[in-house]
Assembly symmetry: C2
């Protein structure tokens, strides 16, 4: 049984303002929970339906557990079809980017990706290809948005997210900087080598004028048909695959 | 000014049942409209805010036009932020698949893709790569779902959609049949040649047991990191790119 104030606290975390104020975000579903438990993230509390209790893994003793009923879960869940288990997770202290972590690997830089679902799907895709670092401009969607978390499908604990002022960070980058553009060298002809940073832009506007100057290698996914553009997460997937093909 | 019955008719089209019953679906935004006007689809009617009137292209005289106010558009729109123009489009008569259209090109077969957004993104991606035909199992998401239409970003008129009983269709296919699976030949080592059909499965369950037997070439996107799976639209994008790389 949850108190009114517990319910209203968790509901407040559906909004970015209160997630930021409290340094807490929501994850849902057993699959997501088991990815976060062994990670560096600190769990705050877990809310579960009685019939899901047996699914709960062994937990550190400092995590508060609350059995809830369907009506309560419906209230606190961010999903239309809640998944029986919801947890609050403490937001880690933002990690400042050390440019040397980008060496000897491939990384993504997102310049204003707006859609939380796209951001989450990009994180999941990066995790599939073993990309460990994603740099986001300050106006990129919130990684702790419930739609982002849902779309990551549990991959977030394995990918380091950096929110940075790109004008300050980009001059410090020493690995090759690629930009996903409509005009550029075909990805099928580009030698990506063994390290690099790929910049992907906003869904409607592409890469911003201030960032475009830092691109050393404009690269493009050749268009054969007539679509005006590709979804940014689809582009990210195709680029991750191309960058990975010679290193496996 | 719309009548109550007009509003309730258009609102009913938010649901699959009434879209099917009336053979009509909704598109929104000027970009989508300009893709449908020159296509084989027949427009039924257009609803626009006064300030969008000047954007309307020349239209055949049989299309009914209605100027609406913001409150009316909010009611009939499927979007949280309506885009000033909404149109009703007649659903074309379903095209029966002739297996020979699959020759000398690449095509997709979706076996139970559930999420309308994924379906729409796959259509947009297929259009980018010039894939003209997508076969869908009967339990695949509705192509006329507003979320599907939105995610296609205007690509639907250029891609032929077939909803078929796969058990009847698959035995008739004469091009190589590839299946996107977690185990199979690496896409980086597969020679896709110049024609083929790629099967993609449901988001959670993958390709169904009845369909899996028809796969001649199990193929996989090698996993380097730890994500459990890739989003199905991301997989589709990577496969479309791989199949296209030697034909451009």
């Amino acid at each position: 049984m949850l108190s009114k104030s517990q319910i209203s606290f968790i509901k407040s975390l559906h909004q970015k303002k209160y997630r930021k104020e409290n340094g807490i975000f929501i994850i849902e579903g057993i699959k997501s929970l088991v990815e976060f438990i062994p990670s560096n993230y600190q769990l705050h509390s877990i809310y579960y339906l009685a019939e899901y209790k047996s699914l709960l893994p062994t937990l550190p003793s400092n995590i508060k557990l609350f059995e809830v009923n369907n009506a309560e879960l419906d209230k606190i869940s961010t999903l239309q079809a809640p998944q029986g288990i919801l947890a609050l997770v403490n937001q880690p202290k933002p990690i400042p980017l050390k440019p040397e972590v980008l060496q000897n690997c491939f990384s993504l830089l997102l310049d204003g990706v707006q859609d939380p679902g796209n951001l989450g799907t990009i994180i999941r895709t990066a995790d599939w290809f073993g990309f460990k670092n994603i740099i986001c401009s300050l106006n990129t969607a919130d990684v702790y948005n419930p739609k982002t978390i849902q779309a990551t499908m549990g991959s977030l604990p394995r990918v380091n997210m950096y929110y940075e002022d790109l004008a300050l960070i980009l001059p410090q980058i020493s690995v090759p900087v690629y930009g996903a553009l409509l005009e550029g060298e075909s990805i099928y002809k580009t030698s990506f080598g063994s390290e690099g940073l790929l910049i992907l832009g906003n869904e409607g506007q592409g890469i911003s004028a201030e960032v475009i100057n830092f691109i050393e290698h404009p690269v493009t996914i050749p268009r054969i048909g007539k679509a005006e553009s590709l979804n940014v997460a689809i582009s990210a997937g195709i680029f991750c695959s191309e960058m990975s093909r010679n290193i496996i």
